[in-house]
Symmetry: C2
Subunit: 409 residues, 2 copies
C-alpha cells in the first residue's frame, strides 16, 4: 500500500472538536487504501504554556529538563488522537519520537536528526495500524530526549516520510497553503498552487511561517513532494512543493515575505584589513548568535562599516559581549537597532530576468520607503527597512510584481 504522511500543527488539534475532524480525515485516508502515518504537534498553546511554567521556576531552565518537559505536549495530543481514531473502529497506535526511531544529535532544544530507524513504525503499519508519531522530538545518540526547535514537527514528518518512502507528505495548516504573501498583511495575497523547493526554501528562510526551512531542505534532498493543505477545507487545492518542471520556469516571482523578528547590529569604522570580518563573526558565533544578512559598505580612509541582522532573541544575549567584540576589532562605534524589518522577494524566474531588483527598489521609492540594507541571492532580493514601513513595503512590492489577482500555478 502507498504510504501517506499527514502532519497536523497545533491549531489543527486544539480541542476535542478539532481532534475529531482530524480523526475523520485520517480514517478517510486509510479507507482510501493508504498506509497512514500521522505526525502531530502539541495542542494549541501547550508548548508555550509549559515553557512559561519552566521560566517561572528558573529564568534559564536546564536544557535537558526543558526537552523532557516540552515533549509532554505532543504526547498528550497524539494519545488523544489515538483514542479518537480507535473510537472510530480504526486501529491506531501512537509512538514517541524515541519509539519511532528518530535519532538526533545531543543538542537539547535544537537537535538535528541524524538518522531515522523506522523498523517499529513499519511493523506497526504492517500489522494494520494507523501510526501516530509525536512531532518535534527525538532520542539523542546518548539516549536522552531531545527537541528539534521551532517548527520541528514539519521536520519529523518530512524525515519520516523520506525514511519510509512515502508517496507524499501532507502538511495541514490553518492557512490552507503557501500564499504569495501573508494574507493578514496583504489581503490580495493568492494561494500558490505549485512551488519549487528552492523558492519555498527562500520564502521560508525569509520569514514565511507556513513551512520550516529545514524540512523543505530535507524534502528537496530526498525529492519528497510536500502538499500544504487546509485542515478545515478538504476541497481547497493547497500548495504542492516539488521539483520545478518546465512550465514553472515561466513563473517570475513566487511571493514576498516579511521578517520582523530580527535586529540590525552595526559596527562603525572598523579597520578595513584582512581578517577583521572573520574575527568579528567568529566572536559573534561563539556566543551562539545565528547571523542572517551581512552587509559591508565600501571603505573610506581605511575603515569600513559592517552590519548584520540576527534574531532579536539572539541579539539580546549578545549585547553584554558586543562591547568586547567592538573593542577586539577596533571599531569606532557600535549600535543595535531592533526597529527594522526585512522584506524579501522570492522567485526562481528572476534569475533570467534583468531589472527585478531595480523594480523592487523603485516600488519602495514611490512609497517613500528608505532601504537600509540590501542582500541578494540568485532567486531572492531582501531589503531591510524601518519596521514601521514594513507592511506597506510588503503590499507595494506584492502589487508591483503582479501577485495580486488570479491564481498562479
Amino acid at each position: 500500500m502507498p504510504i501517506v504522511v499527514q502532519k497536523y500543527g497545533g491549531t489543527s488539534v486544539d480541542g476535542v472538536e478539532r481532534l475529531r475532524v482530524v480523526a475523520d480525515r485520517v480514517v478517510e485516508a486509510r479507507d482510501a487504501g493508504n498506509d497512514v502515518i500521522v505526525v502531530v504537534s502539541a495542542m494549541g498553546q501547550t508548548t508555550d504554556d509549559l515553557a512559561r511554567m519552566a521560566k517561572d521556576i528558573a529564568p534559564e531552565p536546564d536544557p535537558r529538563e526543558m526537552d523532557m518537559l516540552l515533549t509532554a505536549g505532543e504526547r498528550i495530543a497524539m494519545a488523544l488522537l489515538g483514542i479518537a481514531i480507535n473510537a472510530r473502529g480504526c486501529r491506531a497506535a501512537s509512538y514517541t519520537g524515541s519509539q519511532a526511531g528518530i535519532i538526533t544529535d545531543t543538542v537539547h532544544g535544537q537537535a538535528k536528526i541524524i538518522e531515522i530507524r523506522p523498523r517499529r513504525i513499519l511493523e506497526a503499519l504492517e500489522a494494520g495500524n494507523v501510526v501516530i508519531i509525536a512531532g518535534f522530538q527525538g532520542l539523542s545518540s546518548a539516549y536522552e530526549i531531545t527537541t528539534l526547535g521551532r517548527g520541528g514537527s514539519d521536520l519529523t514528518a518530512v524525515a519520516m516520510a523520506s525514511a519510509v518512502g512515502a508517496e507524499v507528505c501532507e502538511i495541514y495548516t490553518d492557512v490552507g497553503g503557501v500564499m504569495t504573501a501573508d494574507p493578514r498583511i496583504v489581503p490580495e495575497a493568492r494561494l500558490i498552487e505549485r512551488i519549487g523547493y528552492d523558492d519555498m526554501l527562500e520564502l521560508a528562510a525569509a520569514g514565511a511561517k507556513v513551512l520550516q526551512s529545514r524540512s523543505v531542505e530535507l524534502a528537496r534532498r530526498s525529492g519528497l513532494r510536500l502538499h500544504v493543505r487546509s485542515s478545515f477545507d478538504d476541497e481547497a487545492p493547497g500548495t504542492w512543493v516539488q521539483e520545478v518542471d518546465d512550465d514553472m520556469e515561466d513563473v517570475l516571482i513566487s511571493g514576498v515575505a516579511l521578517e520582523t523578528d530580527e535586529a540590525k547590529v552595526t559596527f562603525d569604522g572598523v579597520p578595513d584589513t584582512p581578517g577583521v570580518a572573520a574575527a568579528l563573526f567568529k566572536a559573534v558565533a561563539s556566543v551562539g548568535v545565528s547571523v542572517d544578512m551581512i552587509v559591508q559598505n565600501v571603505s573610506h580612509d581605511g575603515a569600513t562599516d559592517l552590519s548584520f541582522t540576527a534574531p532579536i532573541a539572539d541579539v539580546a544575549s549578545l549585547e553584554s559581549t558586543i562591547g568586547g567584540i567592538a573593542q577586539q576589532v577596533q571599531a569606532r562605534n557600535w549600535s543595535v537597532d531592533d526597529g527594522v524589518a526585512k522584506v524579501s522577494l522570492v522567485g526562481a524566474g528572476m534569475k533570467s530576468q534583468p531589472g527585478v531588483a531595480a523594480d523592487m527598489f523603485d516600488a519602495l521609492a514611490t512609497e517613500g520607503i528608505n532601504i537600509e540594507m540590501i542582500s541578494t541571492s540568485p532567486i531572492r532580493i531582501s531589503c531591510v527597512v524601518r519596521k514601521a514601513d514594513a507592511e506597506r513595503a510588503l503590499r507595494v512590492v506584492h502589487a508591483r510584481f503582479g501577485l495580486d489577482g488570479a491564481a498562479v500555478g
Copy 2:
C-alpha cells in the same frame, strides 16, 4: 553514600511554589550526604483532567493510548522539578519509567512491575546527579508504555528503593503520616508513629488512602522501611512502617478505616450444593470485578444467601450480566445495594486479645447502628453498615478502643 528515595504525591507538587519547597528539601537531603532518588506523581488534578479529555473523545478510550496520555502528567511534574533543582546549583536529571528500567507486564491501566533494571539510575547517581523518576509508569515486556493503576507512584518508589538497596523510602503526603482514622471524619484521630507491615497492609486494604496496599506488600517482602511524612512540615515525626519489634506487640489496635466506594451484591435463595459458590465467583471474576468481602449465611431448606462487596465502579459493569449469573446459579432473587460502607478495625495485637470483636459490635450497638455483614482476619474486623451511619460508626469504634488522645508508638 546511602541512598534515600523520596516520593511526592500530586498535592506536594501542585504548582510552582510547592515545587520549590520540594526542590529545597531534595537539595537538603543531598547536602546531608545522601544519594537521592525522587519519585513524583502528576501535579494536582492533572491525571484526572487528562482522563476527562479522553472520555470526552471516547467513552471507553483505547487502553494503550490512555496510558500514553496519562504518563504525560508525571513527565511534566518531574521535568519542572528537575528545572527547579538544577536552578539551585544541584545537578538533577529526570527519567521516565521506561528510562528508569521499570519493566511491567502488558496490562494497560493496571500493570504489575515484573522487574527493575536500575542500571541507568545507578549510573546517574554515580555521576553525581539527583535522580528524578516518573511515578505510576513503566515499560511493558512488549516495549509499550504502561501505567500501574491508582497509587502507582508509591509502588514505583518502593520498587525502585528495593532495587537499589535504599536505606529508606520516604513517602511525602499532605496528611503528615498514617493516622488512627481519617482526621476529616474523626477529629480525635492521632498520628501512628510506628506500625508493622501487616497492620499497614490491612489498613490500606480497608480503605486508608495514605499508602497503596501493593506498595506496602512489596516493602514487606523486601524489608524496606517506609517513612510517611508531611510535605509541609519537616519537624513532624511522621509514621515509620517497618518490621514489628517486641514492644510494638503491646499495641492492641493500630487504627480504624472506612471504605465507602464499595457496593453490596446479594444473591438470595441459592441452592446450598457444592460448587455453587465456585460457579458464581468464577462468573463474577470473568467480567473483571474484584471482589472484596464474601459472606455466606447459614442454610435454610437447602438454600442459602450469598453476599459480596466490590468496588462500585466494577459493579456498574457487572449489572448487565448479573441476571445471567443469578439464573446460572439458580438464585431466587438478587440485589445490588450501593448504600453501604465498610468500617474496619485493624491491629496485630488483637490476635492475642479475646473479645475485641464483641467490643466492636457492642460499640456499634450502643449507637443503634445495624451490622449487615461481618468479615474477619487474624488482625482485622470489618463490618458493613449503612453508608449514612458510616462516619458515626468510625468515630464510636475509634473512641471505644482508646485511640482518641495521646500519641501511640
